[in-house]
């Protein structure tokens, strides 16, 4: 049952969020590439640097942070509403009386699913974002394909990928645990359920940004 539930959560969090994450990532990469090529256009900076900047800013910051902020909105509110609804409709009480450890059955699969799936989503977002930068700038003539590719291949530090996965894992943990907490302990009626869902998103976002700063300080210090 736990395995089945974990698989279901992986599908909900991962496959269910693919479209929105891909869409956002394409535009993040595109906007980053266009704006950096504009900012560096008149400077004495080689044009291939744009590819390098897009790659690193995506891997280190934009892919994990923006992806997880979006997931906090989509998945976090969904988790809080699902658990809150189960609490209000006495589903959780029913499970408790059956002897089911509800925290373990309802929360753990979500957290485990997020710990596996969110880093994968973030990794995919990074690839799509870099491809989005290429699509937005090369065909439109900002610079040539080889220049962009040269930038992507320059000054690569695998440690940045490690940093991306650390952030993705921590953010995935934050967004699921905060949302589960908000939903699991909801009391009252539909107004409180709506409030819990909103709070799940707000607190997850704040904690993700705070964690982003802390991780940045620790891993780059």
């Amino acid at each position: 049952m736990y395995w089945k539930e974990t698989m279901r959560q992986m599908n909900d969090i991962g496959v269910g969020s693919l479209t929105i994450i891909m869409l956002i990532s394409v535009f993040i990469g595109a906007v980053t590439a266009v704006q950096f090529s504009y900012q560096l256009g008149s400077a004495m900076v080689p044009r291939y640097y744009v590819g390098y900047i897009v790659r690193d800013i995506t891997i280190i910051e934009l892919a994990p942070t923006i992806t997880c902020l979006v997931l906090a909105g989509k998945v976090g509110s969904n988790i809080a509403a699902e658990l809150g609804g189960m609490r209000q409709k006495e589903h959780i009480d029913a499970m408790e009386i059956m002897g089911v450890n509800t925290a373990s059955y309802l929360i753990l699969p979500k957290v485990i699913a997020a710990l596996f799936v969110v880093p994968l989503l973030v990794c995919l977002a990074a690839f799509v974002s870099i491809a989005g930068g290429y699509t937005a700038t090369v065909p439109t003539g900002y610079f040539t394909g080889p220049e962009y590719i040269q930038g992507l291949r320059s000054f690569f530090d695998p440690y940045n990928v490690f940093m991306m996965f650390v952030k993705a894992t921590v953010f995935g943990y934050i967004l699921t645990t905060v949302s589960c907490y908000m939903g699991y302990y909801v009391t009252g009626g539909s107004i409180e359920l709506g409030r819990a869902s909103t709070n799940a998103v707000v607190y997850s976002n704040i904690l993700i940004l705070l964690a982003d700063y802390v991780i940045a300080v620790i891993l780059t210090g």
């Binding site: 006495e90 009386i97 002897g99």
Partner: protein
């Protein structure tokens, strides 16, 4: 048998239960009645452990329910089935999956054995052929029967029913009452029903407890209701003039 001793429960400054002493007997349909806000649901939830009492003791047989550790509590809860007021059926599961859920969680049966058990339980509650429906596709009466089936599929020793007839028409209510009563006697289990339905009280009430203002006001068999001198019991059960007339006629007033 379940026994509660001097149970008190407060929510903030509001004292809902002010010291209840009660026994619920094995093989009998024990019914808790009382006005809205009398503390019936709170008492039921205290007994099943969903709320902790402010003070008092709860015994399942000779076992002190409140002093159990998590493992012992889980063992007791596997002997408990509960029918909730709103059914508490899992919306994303079919009727078959809802009833199979306790078996999936706790039994070592194969899927085929579990499905056979579910089929037998469905037959007992007269829902053969409805396995594939989702709760939203079932009527109120069917949902209650699914709730009963899920509550009894692990063959519990204790069955709790919170307002089993709420939202049901009188005819369906009688069917549900009879089903609960029959299961209680067939399996010799301790059943506690929390209800407002006076028909249930007079039809299947073998040990009726009336709660009023946080205290146990009256306790007795359905046959004693008509002859009891307890005014609160009469005010509650014969609240309507029609029922009052019937009662007067029955006792020859």
């Amino acid at each position: 048998m379940i026994r509660v001793e001097n149970i008190k429960k407060s929510f903030g400054d509001l004292e809902v239960l002010k010291g209840i002493n009660l026994e619920f007997y094995k093989g009998k349909t024990n019914i808790i009645i009382g006005r809205s806000g009398a503390g019936k649901t709170v008492l039921l939830k205290l007994i099943v452990g969903l709320y902790p009492p402010t003070s008092g003791k709860i015994y399942y047989g000779n076992t002190d329910f409140l002093s159990l550790n998590a493992k012992q509590l889980r063992a007791i809860r596997m002997k408990v089935g509960m029918l909730f007021q709103q059914g508490a059926l899992f919306d994303s599961m079919t009727i078959q999956e809802n009833i199979r859920f306790p078996l999936d969680m706790f039994s070592t049966m194969t899927l085929k054995e579990k499905n056979l058990k579910v089929s037998a339980t469905l037959e007992r509650v007269d829902l053969v052929g409805k396995e594939g429906l989702f709760p939203s596709e079932a009527s109120g009466g069917m949902q209650k029967r699914v709730g009963i089936a899920r509550a009894i599929v692990l063959e519990p020793e204790y069955l709790f029913c919170d307002e089993p007839n709420s939202g049901l028409d009188p005819k369906t209510s009688i069917v549900i009452d009879q089903l609960i009563s029959n299961i209680t006697h067939e399996r010799n289990i301790t059943t506690i029903i929390n209800t407002h339905d006076m028909n249930s009280v007079m039809e299947i009430g073998e040990n009726i407890a009336l709660l009023a203002d946080g205290y146990l006001e009256w306790q007795g068999h359905k046959s004693e209701v008509l002859t009891s001198e307890n005014e609160e019991l009469h005010r509650f059960i014969f609240a309507s003039p029609f029922l009052k007339k019937l009662r007067d006629k029955a006792i020859g007033k």
